[in-house]
Subunit: 181 residues, 2 copies
DNA sequence: ACCTGAACACCGTTCAAGT
DNA sequence: ACCTGAACACCGTTCAAGT
């Protein structure tokens, strides 16, 4: 079957590049890993990466999408749990990409793709959070503000890591005061 | 007075470099402004910058210190105001450096000086916040968590700018639920 | 369509040399 | 002590050329 062997190879090679980028971005950080290293790890030349991706930022978005899809697929396991559990899950789940969170924020200004992905991510997070606000709060004018606060706290917990106990105390206080107050 | 003319000139030239860096960092962003442009704006050669500063990150710290000192000196004007006013002041005041906030976070991993400054800043913010927590909350075990939440929300407001009304709604909700709850 | 070798433009930083 | 011209090492990206 040489007919569809090409498209297969193409998708595979793209995936290998993304896989290499993902491993290096998560382990070492985005700004610190040269495209040349990603290419080497994926077994291609540096400029081959640019045949698959417009630039390094697009490659980052591909990695972020992969990470997000996987995290979302695991989200089902806590779908029925109370809100604090869900927030803790989100924090622990996203903590592997905590360095990427900072990268996304700092590259948002110079990269339209990253900015776009960031906006989409917050819309998703907002929808997820609102779905968990109790009915009384959900329609209230404060729903928007409450959801924003939850997002800010999650981001804060990601980028300012402390110990598990501290994180839990923050989440418990947040939920008890803000949501079920 | 040629005797002390040299040290004067030194301090002045250093200040000019910091001033140039500050203007460019705030207007254009840290990662986007080359040291060469800072030098040109200050009327020196690129490598002269490296006589005054170990590297670009140290220069950023000098700028941050300047910005912080000035913000702090203006803080007196709201020292007596209620907490929501203070938080809004902090947000508006720091909003001119909102891009720098992201830069600090993303460079923390690779730059010890930046990491150090970041730690110090959060300690200061924490002390300031705790001083404003009502007595009942201040000694409570939740004081630490409450202070962290305030910091996270301020950072979130800085880096995810919305309109004034939205910001105020978030701050009002935060204070009413979290502090005076 | 897919991939490469070689180059370009740029940037942070250093160094030998001057005063 | 202070400053410079010139270079180094590195990086993201491009391009002409191959298959």
């Amino acid at each position: 079957m040489p007919a569809n062997r090409r498209p297969r190879a193409r998708a595979e090679k793209r995936d290998e590049i993304v896989a290499a980028a993902r491993a290096l971005f998560v382990a070492d950080g985005y700004e610190v890993t040269p495209v040349s290293r990603i290419a080497a790890e994926a077994g291609v030349t540096t400029n081959t990466v640019y045949w698959y991706f417009a630039d390094k930022d697009h490659l980052l978005v591909a990695v972020l999408e992969e990470l997000l899809v996987e995290a979302l697929s695991r989200y089902g396991s806590v779908a029925q749990a109370p809100l604090p559990e869900k927030i803790m899950f989100a924090v622990e789940e996203l903590s592997s990409m905590h360095a990427l969170v900072d990268t996304v924020h700092s590259r948002r200004a110079s990269s339209p793709v990253i900015d776009e992905w960031h906006t989409g991510f917050h819309e998703l997070a907002d929808a997820l959070t609102r779905a968990d606000l109790p009915a009384e709060n959900a329609e209230a004018a404060s729903a928007e503000a409450a959801s924003a606060i939850v997002a800010f706290v999650v981001e804060g917990l990601l980028t300012h890591p402390g110990d598990e106990a501290g994180r839990r105390a923050i989440v418990e206080l947040l939920v008890s005061r803000l949501v079920s107050g």
